[in-house]
Amino acid sequence: MQNFSSINMKAGINTIPLGSVPEDTAIALYKAMLRVRMIEEALISEYHPADEIRCPVHFCLGQEAVSAALSFLVKDEDYIFSHHRSHGYYLGKNAPLRALFSELYGRETGANGGKAGSQDISYSDKHFYSGAILSGATSISVGTAFALKYKKLPYAAIAGFGEGATDEGVFWETVNFAALHSLPLLLICENNYYATYSPMSKRMAVENIAQKVGAFGGKNHSVFGNDILSVYMSISNALEEIRSGGGPVFIEVFTYRNNSHVGPEDDSYIGYRSAEEMAFWKANDPIVLIEEKLGADMIARLRPGFEHDIKTEIDDAFKFAKESAFPATSDWQMLNYHPETPLADSLLKEFASGNFNQDQKDHIPGPY
């Protein structure tokens, strides 16, 4: 077992003082984190034994900070690309809760009509996309950033992923290309130390992702990810820099996943994380930390109301999902192709081809 302290050696357990952001911002961030937390907890408790959510779900308890920060910093026109642990990013892009729940329940009112589920969910109206194959969505994001720059739009592409995605070579191709073309791309690496059960030390010769990004020419910052204020400021600064044409920024957010890797069950029987390590992070939980900062009094005043609001919203989303119909049989092929070609229709003529003369020599290439 690795010494858990190494997890946050680089960022330290540094937090920044409450005064760094306006008080109402801090409170709003707190509420946003609480919302993600309560949503995930509600889904976990509804999962079994009901077994109506029938897809793999990767919950994000303990990793609510990035989601909360993003929800106040993204514009509708920005794009977010998420990995498998998608709910935080979905909510961070301010996509609707009903469509999330309904998707998890496989209903036709779901964000994707029940086609995608938790690990592949998207919400196009808000430019939110996800997918389960590590680094895949991140590599796609670089092309979106290219398009934004090409079209001279003041928006950003944002990719959120775990440190595991940086094991994939294509991730480094992506960093290089973003830096080479100075693209408006924000890369957020939530380093929770593990890919499933495997700690960084079993996968990486050096645990210095931000430095590697630096060697590839990318600006990079590290931040203690359980301090919502640090995360907020860091993302805020990065987005400002990106929007003003400064090129890509990589933020390594050191955090911890409190729940199992996947599903509502406890995976601690596998023994990949020590009780000590888990306790340490529980004590440094992002919600605990911000509550400490805001002070017991304020929390006692605010939390019941927040909880009530959120619970009402969650109950509504469950009701909506469960009452929605299942999708019906379909013309399978047509689900996979867009049938119309409006642009081609407007720009291209139609001709019959003449007779091809087959009595010509084939081409034999030269030395290459």
Partner: protein
């Protein structure tokens, strides 16, 4: 199909591709070309020459040798409104991008429930001859055609090369154009203005009554030569070029077989589990009972490509082999 007349001239397959790219870029600012070396004078066997001078470095992008990212990036750019054309000097190099193609691009439309799409075109060139060897000559049309969400074209003439490429670039689905390098210098009558060839519409290249010969990609000229040869021996072959493999004009083939009662498929891919199997299966499922003889596949052998010219000439079927096969088939029924 409402057709029109237009000014045409003879140009090569490579020139037709270049012209399609040029016209697509002229018609639509969202079209960009991405690929290693697309912005040099040599221009991917002449198919991208002149574009960078006309449209600039921002639209004609030389790329790092990082095919996986390139393809993903094309997907991301398409998502945000561009219409990228990705160019691979050899199809083999594309294998680094298989994850992007299969796990992302092909299923993007599906998993978004039809709300989001990636209109992009991937041009991949299959090498043939002069000892290209096993890492420069593969063609996976059977595989790409197998994957839902992708469209696959294999143009055999300059006319189709231009029309299918324009249709693909200005269409709304991710599309593969698999180009046979041995076709690049072959000429055809090609209209000057931009036109379309629709996906899923095969073409009867030569009509005939005795046997249906479905010929794919680089093997179309060869099939045509064999067909005209056989005519001298009184065998009247109907040659069909499906032009696109996905969607595939199975109806056209079935109709032809219903008439001829015989089917031969000549496919520049490996035999086993190859595209020729689909052509055969698609026919016998529908009209198997009309067959007067068992169908035949003429393909590459189930082997990687050898370098030596003495082996190459045995590896790739030629007109003679095709003619002999068809002649034997006709004799089976005592003709």
């Amino acid at each position: 199909m409402q057709t029109q007349t237009a000014t045409t001239r003879e140009i090569t397959y490579a020139q037709a591709i270049q012209e399609a790219l040029d016209q697509a870029m002229g018609l639509c600012d969202d079209v960009i070309v991405m690929g290693q070396l697309v912005d040099y004078k040599s221009g991917i066997f002449g198919t991208t020459t002149g574009l960078v001078e006309k449209y600039g470095k921002n639209r004609v992008l030389d790329m790092p040798v990082a095919e996986a990212m390139m393809t993903s990036a094309a997907g991301g750019a398409a998502l945000a409104g561009l219409r990228p054309v990705v160019v691979h000097q050899r199809l083999d190099f594309m294998l680094y991008s298989m994850d992007a193609i299969v796990n992302w691009i092909s299923l993007w439309y599906f998993k978004s429930n039809g709300e989001s799409r990636m209109p992009l075109t991937i041009r991949a060139i299959t090498g043939k001859g002069w000892g290209q060897g096993p890492q420069h000559s593969k063609s996976f049309h059977a595989f790409f055609a197998h994957i839902p969400g992708l469209r696959v074209a294999m143009p055999s003439t300059a006319f189709d090369a231009k029309g299918l490429l324009l249709e693909s670039i200005l269409g709304e689905n991710p599309t593969f154009i698999i180009e046979g390098r041995s076709l690049f210098s072959m000429k055809d009558e090609v209209p000057e203005i931009p036109y379309r060839v629709r996906f899923g519409e095969g073409k009867i290249m030569k009509s005939g009554k005795d046997v249906t010969l479905v010929a794919i990609g680089t093997f179309v000229p060869l099939a045509m030569r064999a067909a005209f040869d056989l005519l001298k021996n009184g065998i009247d072959v109907e040659v069909i070029d499906p032009r696109t493999l996905s969607p595939f004009d199975n109806a056209l083939v079935c109709e032809s077989v219903a008439k001829t009662g015989r089917l031969v498929v000549v496919d520049p891919g490996w035999n086993f589990s190859g595209f020729s199997a689909e052509v055969v299966a698609g026919v016998v499922e529908q009209v198997g009972s009309v067959l007067k003889a068992n169908p035949i596949r003429v393909t590459l052998p189930d082997s990687h490509t050898p370098m030596s010219m003495s082996l190459e000439s045995q590896y790739y079927p030629d007109e003679q082999r095709l003619s002999d096969t068809i002649t034997k088939l006709m004799r089976q029924n005592g003709l």
